[in-house]
């Protein structure tokens, strides 16, 4: 068993040695793989960042119910209670006309506001109720149903669903995910072809060695092994370089991003890869490299035999 591992380590070291001996070809191949891996990686980070942002909205729609201006406080309280008791409403908050005006004052910060209010002749804002439907009732049909039921309540002027923006955003994210998945699959195939072709060239360059090794009793497994290591190493190194690129890119856009997020009062706009995700990237790179080598070897190695 120790001997078996020693042999594998020997092949691994010999393969690294071969790579170092032809540095330009090796670097070219690794860079091509890195760029191929980088694109899906960046897309993944973008999607994750987007999900992170929409996550702060809790992904649930809000419904603003505006009451008629002339309802009394007592009537307003009754409507509020009725809405609170509705089975598909999880949370409801009553905003009186005075509260609404106060909020408006804080947000507008206008010096001439008092004059303008005087001109209008009092508080123009209606009392309202902001409610959040329960989690299991947030699909479109259920929301429409809820909206219809609310409209039947006496004293309600209008209803607004603060939904469109959230929906549009998550729809865009969905499109990006779909396109990204498609693109990643294509790039994975491209990667297999690139590594496969490189391995094919290596096999042809080492034709003599393969032939002679078979002549002196080397098994197919033995002959194949260094090429599989080549593929796996290419994949691993390509994925490593891609990760470095991704982190450098992240560092470069960190400052403008943090300005942006401070504008939107958001904590973190940019998604950071976890240790597990880094490990998975490296693993997937290695595996893809190995698969490509395996595929290439299966196609080309058997043709080379002693004559």
């Amino acid at each position: 068993m120790i001997n078996y591992f020693a042999r594998h380590i020997q092949v691994l070291l010999a393969t690294i040695g071969d790579m170092v001996r032809s540095p330009i070809a090796t670097i070219n191949t690794i860079l091509i793989i890195a760029i191929t891996v980088l694109l899906p990686m960046l897309l993944y980070i973008v999607v994750k960042s987007a999900e992170q942002i929409s996550g702060t909205w809790e992904g649930r729609p809000q419904i603003s119910v505006f009451l008629q201006q002339d309802v009394s406080d007592h009537e307003a309280q009754l409507i509020y209670q009725e809405i609170q008791l509705h089975p598909t409403v999880e949370l409801a908050e009553f905003v009186s006309a005075a509260q609404a005006l106060e909020e408006f004052r804080l947000l507008t910060d206008s010096a001439t506001l008092e004059q303008e209010l005087d001109f209008i002749g009092g508080n123009p804002l209606p009392p309202s109720i902001v409610l959040m439907p329960s989690d299991d009732a947030s699909n479109q049909a259920q929301l429409d149903e809820l909206q219809n039921q609310l409209l039947k309540i006496e004293g309600i002027e209008s209803i607004r669903l603060d939904l469109e923006w959230t929906q549009r955003f998550s729809a865009i994210v969905h499109v990006v995910v779909r396109v990204g998945t498609l693109l990643s699959s294509l790039l994975a195939i491209a990667l297999i072809l690139i590594v496969g072709n490189t391995i094919k060239l290596l096999i042809h360059n080492r034709r003599d060695e393969i032939e002679i090794t078979k002549l002196v009793g080397g098994t197919d497994t033995f002959v194949r092994r260094p090429f599989l290591y080549y593929g796996a190493l290419f994949g691993f190194m390509g994925a490593s370089i891609a990760l470095i690129f991704a982190f450098v890119a992240g560092a470069l856009i960190a400052e403008p991003i943090s300005q942006l997020s401070s504008l939107y009062q958001s904590q973190s706009l940019l998604y950071r890869l976890s240790v597990t995700e880094v490990a998975v990237s490296l693993g997937v790179g290695t595996l893809l490299g190995w698969i490509s080598a395996r595929w290439s070897v299966a196609q080309h190695l058997w043709k080379i035999r002693p004559r």
Partner: protein, 230 residues
């Protein structure tokens, strides 16, 4: 040790390289295989080492019928036979050490053991101290010896040599053939293909004669016959 029975080989292009060839070489014997180029000597070696398959007939190596040998068993067969090629088949970009060590590396022998064996084999063929040189820097005769060292490193019971003295002068040829005779002395079965009849006469060993793919003679030297009769 080697037994051919009714062996014919026809290549896909229609060329009939061997026709109904039968002979048997007992263990420990040294035999020359004589004939012009194109007589079928190389084909015969390719059949014994399973580089080619016979069209018909049976081949036995060390009592085992290799005619229907599975591809996966070919490496094991080749490890039992040391082969020396006319064109040496050395890896020119590797050191002499790496070349000679190859048959041991493929069976996964520990490095320490490999070093000892390579040193011993190179000593036996008179190439001590040339481990780290590239074969390209060696003379033709020296390259041939590297090939011999590689063939014997695995301590095979059978040695096959295809025109080992092809491009060498007489003195060098004698030395090379004598190396084979030495291995034969310690019990290795040796089969040497050559058109160098001088060597055949000098050593007076059994000689198989091939011509146009047919075995036309199996001469046993008188000296041997005298030995057996006395």
């Amino acid at each position: 040790m080697i037994k051919l029975s009714q062996i014919s080989k026809r290549y896909p292009n229609g060329h009939e390289a061997l026709r109904e060839v039968s002979f048997e070489i007992p263990a420990g014997e040294m035999v020359f295989l004589a004939g012009h180029s194109g007589a079928g000597k190389s084909t015969l070696f390719k059949l014994i080492t399973r580089i080619e398959k016979p069209t018909s007939g049976q081949i036995f190596v060390d009592q085992k019928n290799i005619t229907k040998l599975r591809v996966s068993k070919t490496p094991a067969l080749r490890r039992e036979i040391g082969v020396i090629f006319q064109d040496h088949k050395l890896l020119m970009d590797r050191t002499v050490f790496d070349n000679v060590a190859l048959p041991l590396i493929v069976i996964g022998m520990p490095h320490e053991e490999i070093r000892k064996r390579v040193r011993a084999a190179l000593g036996k063929v008179g190439l001590s101290g040339k481990e780290s040189q590239k074969p390209i820097t060696l003379s033709g005769g020296e390259q041939q010896r590297v090939g011999i060292a590689r063939a014997v490193i695995n301590r095979p019971n059978i040695l096959l040599a295809d025109e080992p003295t092809g491009n060498l002068d007489e003195a060098l040829s004698d030395e090379i053939i004598d190396i084979f005779a030495d291995f034969n002395q310690v019990g290795v079965t040796v089969l040497i293909a050559t058109h160098d009849l001088r060597q055949v006469e000098r050593l007076s060993k059994r000689t198989l004669h091939l011509e146009n793919g047919e075995l036309i003679g199996d001469y046993r030297p008188r000296k041997n016959e005298e030995h057996t009769s006395s």
